[in-house]
Assembly symmetry: C2
DNA sequence: TCAAAAGTGTTCACCGTACACCCATGG
DNA sequence: CCATGGGTGTACGGTGAACACTTTTGA
């Protein structure tokens, strides 16, 4: 019988998190030096195993909290990796999640305690198992998301300059953008609030600070701006 | 210790397949009437459990073959569902796959033996567990794929008319399209071969049959048409 | 000869892109 | 007063969307 619940086929389900941050001009990933076997001493993504009484989202949230001390992180399931020998110690599958955090707000102590470190994407070391593929996958996803929705506010401080926002997009797409076109585009979206404050750290004139207007943004998402993301709903009257 | 390989947390990993087909003017899903517990007698997706010595892709391929008798099916991993009580019998997680098949080529006997049936999307019955959500998710993904790559040739017979191709897109997006714009667009992609044959079943004049030009298509995918799908590769010199 | 489906082009609005100069200020 | 980064507008080409009439042929 093919549909039996055969407990011999039970496996461990790992959750691995690709944690993105942005600092100055660089898109970064948070990696840890493993202090346990297998592959002790090598760099890897932050991960853990899903417990029998939690969902994958809960497991990912738990892992992220353990490393960063942050709740309410922007997080999304990516893909499930299942090569039979991906983990030499035991048969596992791993569900990859990616997360976007403001690099200034996380808990520095926790990170040090976990021997974690931020790496610029281009300078990331080789990772254990299939973790390098996971990071590549996450960057692709981050790019396609950033093309359709204004992502990235999660990665910046509350107040930021247009320059910073532009540099973030340049880092995500690894491509230089035209200043005027970028600003025109962002302004046409009408989701930023221009503050009266200026940031004078990088020039004599100073540049205006902006914040993200969540109310307008949420309204736009519902109305479907950029693409219209028509979700398909079956049995809409019966949910 | 948080990173232990604790075998108490091992779970069964299901694979559920959303199998799409296209017939006349309707996008369809293949569903089975369960002849086993739990939820015996109800409609569900075709599924099975991943074995300890196979990958998820292999499990999905096996499940699809069991139901359709087909190899080399277009298939893609969708998302992993993990609500703790999603399956009342035992703790499981389920990795959803969607597949596109030509509705004329599958093995009719196998389908009947599995008490499976094709349903138009709009008339699909309520499904067990979280399967309805899986189908919704699959349709959303199918739409976003169909917006970026010409998908759909998998769903049509080898030779097809422009009308059929248009009706397929209309079914996927649940939206009427303009005949002239559609044809112009498809022709500008330059991935079809116009045959000398005509299909006379639906009109006196007859309409030309086309086939999909795989060589040109693959070349275009590599060159990146529509979107440029810049995949991100870490350590490109070291793979 | 006529009903029924197939086939075929043009116009217009909008969006993405390329591109260069003046402004404000602290040192 | 000048060097440094900040801020601003326009012109052009290409793409997506709207739109209607002629052709073929079997009944």
């Amino acid at each position: 019988m093919l549909n039996t619940y055969n407990s011999e086929d039970k496996v461990l389900v790992a959750v691995d998190c690709i944690i993105f941050g942005f600092d100055k001009k660089d898109l970064k990933v948070l990696l840890i030096k493993r202090d346990f076997e297998p592959e002790k001493g090598k760099w890897s993504l932050m991960g853990g195993f899903m417990k029998k009484d939690e969902t994958l989202d809960q497991a990912a949230t738990r892992v992220l909290y353990r490393l960063t001390g942050l709740h309410d992180i922007y997080m999304e399931q990516l893909y499930t990796f299942s090569k039979v020998d991906r983990d030499p110690k035991d048969r596992t599958i791993s569900v990859a999640y990616y997360a976007l955090i403001n690099i200034e707000t996380h808990n520095q102590e926790l990170i040090e305690k976990s021997s974690a470190k931020w790496f610029s994407i281009a300078q990331a070391p080789e990772l254990i198992f299939d973790h390098t593929r996971m990071v590549e996958h996450a960057i692709s996803r981050l790019r396609s998301r950033a093309s359709t929705k204004p992502i990235g506010f999660e990665l910046l401080p509350d107040k930021f300059t247009m320059k910073q926002l532009q540099e973030l997009y340049e880092a995500i797409f690894d491509k230089e953008l035209d200043k005027r076109n970028f600003i025109n585009k962002v302004n046409s979206l009408d989701i930023l609030i221009k503050l009266d404050e200026k940031d004078k750290t990088s020039s004599k004139k100073g540049s205006y600070l902006y914040t993200f207007d969540e109310v307008k943004y949420n309204k736009k998402v519902l109305d479907g701006f950029l693409f219209k993301p028509v979700p398909y709903v079956l049995h809409p009257n019966n949910r």
